[in-house]
Amino acid sequence: GDSVTQTEGLVTLTEGLPVMLNCTYQTIYSNPFLFWYVQHLNESPRLLLKSFTDNKRTEHQGFHATLHKSSSSFHLQKSSAQLSDSALYYCALMRGSALGRLHFGAGTQLIVIP
């Protein structure tokens, strides 16, 4: 079945350093939708990025990610971490036009320290 793997459970960074959170996926569907959601403490997941186009960079609020179907990856990056970026980040996969279920990765807790 479909699955998403986030290898880091916890990432701790100093403010100003670059962010990279890994996401790889498995699906037999050739045109998946990939998403990054961010969840701050005591809040619900909020959509950060989405993509369904191979090799096209998508950006929002300083974060960016590129869907690479050849490596089944959708890594989240940011050039300079801010304290306010501390949150839980989920990578998620959905099959496209069939409106399949959203498959979440286990999540990566990002902690940014001064």
Partner: protein, 115 residues
């Protein structure tokens, strides 16, 4: 544009009590999802609808949980006899069938504590 609306925000029950959660999706969104998110875990799908039809309820504990979306708009999730293990946040999300707009968007959730 109004987001996904859920109520109540919080619920505290004794084991064996019943509770219902209500969700109003974003206008025009035909797909509605209910997720359960236990503390310190990721969201886990319980059931989702396309319009009024159930598409997948395989993860819904059918002996105690039920979900309906009778007119293809609002939805209600009910727990018949709550257990302590049901303690979690219950998230509703909705999405559109539009090819460019399929990202499920979440409501604020209902936090359930079963004592």
């Amino acid at each position: 544009e109004a987001g996904v609306t859920q109520s109540p925000r919080y619920a505290v029950l004794q084991e064996g009590q019943a509770v219902s959660f209500w969700c109003d999706p974003i206008s025009g969104h035909d797909t509605l999802y209910w997720y359960q998110q236990p503390r310190d875990q990721g969201p886990q799908l319980l059931v989702y609808f396309r319009d009024e039809a159930v598409i997948d309820n395989s993860q819904l504990p059918s002996d105690r949980f039920s979900a309906v979306r009778p007119k293809g708009t609002n939805s209600t999730l009910k727990i018949q006899s709550a257990k302590q293990g049901d303690t979690a946040t219950y998230l509703c999300a909705s999405s559109s069938d539009s090819y460019n707009n399929q990202a499920p968007l979440f409501g604020e959730g209902t936090r359930l504590s079963v004592l």
